[in-house]
Amino acid sequence: MWTWFHKLASPPHFFRISEKMVPWFGISGLLIIAWGTWHGLFVAPPDYQQGDAFRIIYVHVPSAYLSMAAYMTMALAAGIGLIWRIKLSHAVAAAAAPIGAWFTFLALATGMIWGRPMWGTWWEWGDPRLTSELLMLFLYFGYMALRAAISDVKKADNASGVLALVGAVNIPIIHYSVEWWSSLHQGATILREDGPAMPPEMLTPLLFNIAGFTLLFGALLLIRVRTGVIYREHRKMWVKNLIQRGEL
């Protein structure tokens, strides 16, 4: 297990393996998303309350889930990088941040679009999840701003790693406090979880889309990590060899 781990953590080895993994993740992810979206948009029955407006959850829920999962990936990778001093792990953390931020943005945008017909407003402060997502986006901004402000890659890796861990510890607290805060408001209690359990023909496409989005995230992450690895190792022999052989 450990030797496998260490072997994977070596940049040239990772570069070779990941090249084969990207299409698998990417293509299977896109196929699953296509199936899930088709069934979500055309096969699943309309919601008895929300009509067809509910169908945006097939994008919203996977994005919201990935905004969180990407942050956890980032914090975990940063923690591994800090403890075992694995550069590849830092590259993963750095690559996960912008993808996570885009998923967060997507979750926010779809949430707002959904909120317009449901609440009659683009932004409903009373919904704790939307507010949490916004704070999540701010956390990503902070992480990326810190990385951008430090020119030395090694220092940027370690410093942003500490920030990612501090952020990960704080996320549950932030969510809890936003929920407490919105529970104080009366009237704005349109909570989606109050509704009846989803029928399977609605739920299955959603689960498929969540899986598909996750695979797509994996593919995007691998592509970004590969670029990051090349950038970090551009002076190393193996990268120069790749360029010489015309494989890059």
């Binding site: 902070g142 220092k155 410093a159 500490v162 952020g167 607290i173 932030i174 406090s177 407490w180 805060w181």
Partner: protein, 230 residues
Amino acid sequence: MSDKGTSNLFSGFCAVVRRDLLLSWKRPGDMLNPLFFFLMVCTLFPLAGGPTAEQLQLSGPGVMWVGALLATLLSLNSLFVSDYEDGSLDQLILSQQPLPLLALGKSAAHWLTNGVPLVLISPLISVMFQMPVQTITIMMVTLIFGTISLSLLGAIGSALTIGAHRAGSLLSLLILPLAMPILIFGARTASLSMTNDPTAAGIYFLGAYCMFALSLAPFATAAALRICNE
């Protein structure tokens, strides 16, 4: 060899607190500027928003908390910068004293010179916002826990931004989202007390958060200092 300096675990902590207090005594501006900033921000809002008692009371706790948060951020900018620039951070890191305790000393001194004045001046501003007596007390209690937490949390951000470009605006970007729970609980708890609603939950939360920050933040600050002083 005399080993006076290292015999006591807290002597380094106390020495850092003493030194930083002495420094702010010699440079009272560093301590007063954020305080004046707090006062001015709090006067801006009634001028911009409107003078009726209802408006004042409604916005008061929120405005005071935002003001306190921004004033604390302002003073946090310089927490480690001078130590980094004059090389005394090297000496702190190379000290035989545990670095987390020294970092805790920096936070403690920051709270004593910035947090405490904010807490002490808050009744004056609360009165200007025409808050009832019980709210003034609750405001002070939430500010005590809140400013301690901010001094601890902010020290992490301040340590992470030493040596970075435009450390000032960067610090706000790092710390503001993390400080949201403190702001939410601080301001809402004070608002609740205005209508005589129960405030215990908010105060317990702030106290718990403060203890949590007290036990973990110094370690994160120490790690950040080692990394960013390289």
